[in-house]
């Protein structure tokens, strides 16, 4: 890796159409960063996404610290905003899926998950950062694994060893010989595929979103030559449109992530179906 470690932009800026150089299309390389510190070949380094992840944590904690450190019965503006966010997840997601009695215990986990994922997604359109942390598979994966261990251990605790297998396979004798096939598919789907899809759903959405934004941004710059300028304008409009669309997708994906989390927990608590 011989790239300039001080590189800020995701593409080369000295290339325009009609200059005889090709379009610097975004790709997998757009998601790789030179380490800010350490050696990229070893496992001991610190790069932009890590910085954004930790910075995002600090921002979330800072926001809620300011809002909830000294809460009032009659809330101020900041507390009101934070409360409505908290209430939305608590009542709109947790109570709706798991129920108030069983769900209360998981509210902090789900609230932390939602705001964490949302913040990591939001980095995508925050100027200078402009990179969704969740488009690196490690971040969604670690969250999906936390959720996975939560509901798997919960299923064991709730139903015991035999009950656990019944719960994850959905084994139902009344189906006859099909029951074994159905149980096998359910087992595969629940225990193996579920954490993977849970993580990849978020990852792929943010990955694709970032690629789209990059595509139009790079195109806007690349086309700034001769007649291309007219097309550059269109491309730039698309940048604005896609940024607004990403803002929406980021919130939706965070919501979907926690909604699925609650569904899995609820499934673990439920009696055999």
């Amino acid at each position: 890796m011989s790239a300039d470690p001080t590189q800020v932009l995701a593409f080369e800026t000295d290339c325009h159409i009609f200059d005889g150089c090709g379009f610097p299309a975004p790709g997998l390389h757009s998601f790789l960063f030179e380490p800010l510190w350490g050696d990229g070949d070893s496992n001991l380094y610190f790069n932009k996404t890590m910085l954004l992840a930790l910075l995002g944590s600090v921002i979330i904690v800072g926001f809620f610290w300011a809002a909830f450190r000294n809460p009032k019965v009659v809330p101020g503006k900041l507390q009101m905003v934070a409360e409505s966010g908290y209430d939305f997840i608590r009542r709109g997601v947790v109570y709706e899926t798991i129920g108030k009695r069983e769900g209360e215990k998981y509210v902090p986990f789900v609230v932390a998950l939602f705001f964490f994922v949302w913040m990591m997604n939001l980095w995508s359109i925050i100027p200078l950062a402009q990179f969704p942390v969740t488009s690196i598979i490690s971040y969604p994966l670690v969250l999906a694994l936390l959720v996975y261990f939560t509901w798997v251990s919960l299923t064991f605790k709730r139903h015991g060893f035999v009950g656990f297998w019944k719960n994850v396979t959905g084994f139902d004798k009344s189906l006859g010989p099909v029951a074994y096939l159905a149980a096998f598919i359910e087992l595969f789907s629940n225990l193996l595929v579920r954490p993977f899809t849970h993580a990849v759903r978020l990852f792929a959405n943010m990955f694709a979103g970032h690629t789209l934004l990059l595509l139009f941004t790079i195109a806007s710059w690349y086309l700034l030559n001769g007649i291309g300028i007219a097309y550059a304008g269109v491309s730039f409009v698309m940048v604005i449109v896609m940024t607004a669309f990403e803002l929406f997708i980021q919130a939706v994906q965070a919501y979907v992530f926690v909604l699925l989390t609650c569904t899995y927990i609820q499934g673990a608590l439920a009696e055999h179906h």
């Binding site: 790239a3 790789l32 890590m50 809620f64 809460p71 598979i137 994966l141 936390l146 990849v200």
Partner: protein, 184 residues
């Protein structure tokens, strides 16, 4: 060409293979958020939300209590009013009955007194009549004997005979009077 592009083209990086350091940092970043929220900030806000709920529900409960009390008082008042009305009606009824009874009693008493007075009058008249008849009988007897003595010249001193004679005479008088009465 960008060396990162070359690297990607060589297939050295699969976006689905998670880099380990990022996993660790991701976990740390999430644990920071979860720790602060779960241990301090959410319990904080839950307490306040609970207080607020109680404040609101306390107000509602107070209003409910006041309403219930007002309703019970109204109920009591209505019951008392109904009772008073009932009592008044009962008293009126009683008074009417008593009045009727008194009037009846008075009437009966008046009737009785009237009858008594009439009876006493009758008795008085009868007694007077008898006394008068007796006196008259005596007087008539005396006059008759005197007259007869003067006419006959002899003294009709024999009392027994005298009485019998007078009685016979008076009886015949009375007979004649009753006959005359009957024919009239």
């Amino acid at each position: 060409m960008n060396p990162l592009v070359q690297l990607a083209q060589e297939g050295a990086e699969n976006p689905l293979i998670p880099p380990i350091p990022e996993l660790v940092i991701g976990l740390i970043a999430f644990v920071i958020v979860f720790g602060f929220l779960a241990k301090k900030l959410l319990p904080n806000i839950n307490k306040v939300l609970e207080e607020r709920r109680e404040a609101i529900e306390g107000g509602i409960e107070k209003a409910d209590a006041a309403k219930t009390e007002a309703e019970s008082v109204l109920e009591q008042y209505k019951a008392q009013l109904a009772e008073a009305r009932h009592e008044a009606a009962r008293l009126r009824q009683e008074a009417t009955e008593q009045g009727t009874a008194i009037i009846q009693e008075m009437k009966a008493e008046g009737q009785r007194q009237r009858e008594e007075i009439i009876a006493a009058g009758h008795a008085q008249i009868e007694a007077d009549r008898k006394a008068a008849a007796a006196a008259l009988r005596q007087d008539v007897g005396k006059l008759a004997t005197d007259l007869a003595g003067k006419l006959v010249g002899e003294s009709l001193e024999d009392h027994a005979r005298q009485s019998r004679t007078i009685d016979r005479f008076l009886d015949s008088l009375e007979d004649g009077a009753s006959k005359a009465e009957a024919t009239r």
